[in-house]
Structure formats: C-alpha cells, structure tokens
C-alpha cells in the first residue's frame, strides 16, 4: 500500500492492519520463485526442442522456426485450459506459466470458455480479450514509444 493511502487510515485501522498482518500466512516467495524457474525453464526448453525440430524436419530458418513452435505451445495450453487442468498447473507454477506464451494463451482461452454462455458475439467476442487486452494495449504502446526513441536517437546520430 502506498504511503499516501496509509496516511488516510485512522489509527485504529492502522493498528488492526498491523495486527492482522502478523497473523497472515506469507506467500512463500522463495519457493514460488524456484517452482516458477523450474516450470518456466521446462516450458522454454520444450519450446527450444520444438524449434530445433522445425528447423531439422521442416526446413524452417532459425528466425522463422519460433512461430510454429509458439503455435504448438499455444495449442497445448488451450487444450489444457479447456480440460480444466491448466489452472491447477498454474497454481503450482505461478510465474512459470504466466510469463511464457502459455500465460497469454490461457487468458484468452479461459475468458472465451467462461463467457460462452452469453453468446458468440457479446460473450466470446466481447470478453475474449478481457484479461489479454491490457497486455496488447500497453505492449503495442510501449513498442511505439521505444521505436520513437530509437528513431530520434538515430536521427541525432547517436546510434
């Protein structure tokens, strides 16, 4: 909580929050990091294997082999989400499944499944990017800002 917000709390509220905090179980951050490292690492290793597979057997170039490899991981994630397994893996893995493309695929698939009952247009179509939307908006926007910086630096002859 920000300092500004904390100041607005009455002394009783502050005292209680301190009291409650002492009795709350902490998130096991170190353990979660280790789990995320192992699971995330395994997913990336699998992605690398796929990439090598596509280069060797389908004659993709080193640069373009990433695309079919990502597609395979996305499909696997969507299937696991559909069968209701992915959220249990994610509870264990945490950032390990959120950070790779699996996290992104899961947000879209889970929202689409969830809002199926409201129909294909307003339900699935309207809600599919409910969680993924911010990622796209700020991803594209920050890419735009970075490219502006690069272009102006180049124009100034720095780069």
């Amino acid at each position: 909580m920000s300092i500004k917000k904390k100041k607005e709390l009455s002394p009783t509220q502050q005292e209680y929050q301190q009291f409650a905090q002492e009795r709350e179980p902490k998130r096991p951050i170190v353990l979660n990091c280790i789990k995320a490292f192992i699971v995330g690492g395994l997913i990336c290793t699998f992605g690398q294997v796929l990439q090598m597979f596509f280069i060797k057997y389908f004659h993709f170039s080193k640069e373009s082999a990433g695309n079919p490899a990502m597609a395979v991981i996305i499909i696997i994630t969507v299937i696991l989400t559909g069968f209701g397994v992915f959220d249990h893996i994610a509870q264990f893995a945490g950032a390990g499944t959120v950070v790779p493309i699996t996290g992104f695929a899961n947000t879209i698939a889970s929202a689409a499944i969830e809002h199926r009952s409201e129909g294909y247009v307003l339900g699935v179509g309207g809600n599919m990017f409910k969680l993924a939307g911010p990622v796209i908006v700020y991803g594209v926007f920050s890419a735009f800002v970075v490219s502006l910086v690069v272009v102006s630096l180049r124009a100034l002859g720095v780069m």
Partner: protein
C-alpha cells in the same frame, strides 16, 4: 423485542421446522457430505450456464425443505432469499419458479443469517405463519463475476478462499417441532481499510468480533452459554485473527467452542481450498445442514452463528476502495 442496542429477542421462539442443504462436487468430497440432502457431481448441474446452475441449487434446496416439512409451497407465505450474483438473479429466478411471495436480500455472505433474522421477525410479529429462507453461492459463477475466469491460471495466495457451491434453506414456522431461533444481533458495517479480495478473512474478522461483542453485551450473556459459536466464512486466516482479536478485546470464548463454517466445510488437504470456504452458501449449508442436524440429534443444544459478509463489488475493488464488512449473529436453541 429490542434488547440492548441492536439485538432482537424472539419471545414466541420461531421454529425451524425443516431445513435443507444442497451442494456441489467439492462439497461432496468434504467432511460435511453426509449432512447434505442432495449433492451434485456436475458443477453445472446439467444446465447451460453457471448462473442457471445456481438457480437450480436454490430451487432444490427450497423444494427439499418444504417437502421435509410435509407442506406444500402454498403453505409458505414468504420467501426470503439472496445470493452473490449481480442483481441477485438466481434468487429472483428461483422465486419465479416457486411462485411464493418473495423478498430479495443482499448481504453478501452474511445473507443467510440476515434472512433467518428477518424470517423470525416476520413470524414473531405474526405477519407470517411460515417463512422460507434460502441462500446460495456457486463457485464458478462467483469467480467469474468477482475475480477471473474459472480456468484462468493465476497463483492464489494462501489467504485466498474457495467459494462454496451450495444452497441452504430453512423453513421458519410459528409452531412445530425443531430448533428455535431465540435472538439475533444485527451487525454494523465495519471497515478496517483492507482492500485485498484474496484476503477476505482478515477484512471480515473485525465485523464478526464487533457483532459478537454487541451480542454478549446486549443480552448480558457469557460466551459459555453456547455449546458452539460459529463464524460464517472467515477461513483459517480470518478465524485466527478473530480469535486473537476477541481475546484482545477481553471477550474470552473457549477455543473448543469457537469455530468457522469455512474451515469445517472442507478437508484441510483438499487442493485449491487454501484458507477455507466462503460465499453465502458456506454458512448456509453448514448451519442449515450440519449444525441443525447435530442439534436434532441432541449433540448441540445452544448455538450462535455469526454470518460474515464482505460488501465489495468487482467495481469497488477496481476503483481501489477498501472492503467494508458486516456480520449478523443468530442464536438457535433446542
């Protein structure tokens, strides 16, 4: 009759002549499974949406309670029901099916005891002979509305709770055999400035403590009067905080009689349950199923149920508001 500041004492002793509990697949795996009248293996109950499934839960709970009392729905004058879904549609839609004059309630997870208090008030004031209370919650429907899609993979902290899929109903009558509602204390809204929806136990614990203090102060009663004092859905985290807070405030409730429905309803080793159960259904199925059954068997004589509710909405949370909480206490004796 108003006693003290915020407590009603029911002199005519409105009687719970029948009660019913209906649950979902997770509840069926929990320790209270034998106390349910009906358990569903399918979270959707064969319906095409979670919301319809919740409506079905309520209908079944109401019908079972009426059937157990050997009555017809025409014999019941009023239905008081509530749930967690926007505009309490499952309650209103099941009231449409049942066609009993209906009062919709919203008190978040405290609705079960809010409903029981109001139903008892109707009986006490002779404005009704039979009133039916019904509340429900549905895990997937609530997750969808309050948090993320059910299949979304996010890591929940250990203080998170699992919304109970279930519905509990109680039929309160002016005469008949069964456990009697003797008093209820209506709680104030308490806000300690907590804002984490994954830690509702800590947000609700002060409300439970406030209502408990008010109850014992108003009735000038000692906690040892009761065989069991159960909070609604504080979970393991909130239960510990509430217990310590009560001690800090000088109200000594023996540890063996103070319990929490959110802890009782699930086994500790059930995955994803984390801190315990929550939702309207949690307190309702535990009270109207488990506790009342134990009272009818004679294992418990006097109980106090304090249903706790977190009065947040997904929008208030996104607008960075804190979580105001409420708790209502009802004393049931046999």
């Amino acid at each position: 009759m108003l006693t003290g500041h915020q407590t009603w004492v029911f002199e005519t002793k409105p009687t719970i002549i029948a009660s019913a509990a209906v649950g979902g697949p997770y509840e069926a795996k929990g320790p209270l499974a034998p106390d349910f009248d009906l358990l569903h293996g399918d979270i959707r109950l064969g319906q095409d949406s979670f919301e319809k499934a919740e409506q079905k839960l309520q209908e079944q709970a109401c019908e079972t309670a009426i059937k157990k009392a050997k009555l017809k729905k025409e014999d019941v004058q009023f239905l008081l029901s509530g749930d967690l879904i926007n505009q309490i549609v499952p309650s209103s839609f099941s009231a449409r099916t049942l066609a009993i004059p209906y009062l919709g309630l919203y008190g978040a997870c405290s609705t079960s005891m809010e409903g029981l208090s109001l139903a008892s008030l109707l009986i006490e004031s002779k404005f009704a002979k039979k009133a039916l209370v019904c509340v429900s919650s549905h895990n997937a429907a609530s997750e969808k509305q309050y948090r993320y899609p059910t299949e979304y993979g996010s890591q929940k902290p250990p203080s998170a709770q699992w919304t109970v899929t279930g519905s509990g109903a109680a039929l309160v009558s002016d005469k008949g055999e069964g456990p009697k509602v003797t008093a209820s204390t209506i709680g104030r809204v308490i806000d300690m400035g907590l804002s984490d929806p994954f830690n509702m136990g800590a947000a609700m614990a002060p409300a439970a403590v406030d209502t408990l203090e008010a109850h014992f102060r108003d009735l000038n009663r000692d906690p040892s009067y009761y065989d069991l004092i159960a909070t609604g859905d504080l979970g393991r985290v909130g239960h510990k905080i509430a217990g310590d807070l009560l001690k800090k405030h000088g109200l000594n409730i023996p540890e063996e009689i103070l319990t929490d429905c959110g802890i009782l309803i699930y086994n500790k080793d059930q995955p994803v349950v984390m801190s315990g159960g929550s939702g309207c259904g949690c307190c309702a199925v535990t009270t109207f199923g488990h506790f009342l059954n134990r009272m009818r068997k004679g294992e418990l004589k006097k109980i106090l149920v304090v249903a706790t509710g977190a009065l947040l909405s997904p929008m208030s949370y996104q607008q960075k508001e804190s979580i105001p909480s409420i708790a209502h206490a009802v004393s049931i004796e046999i």
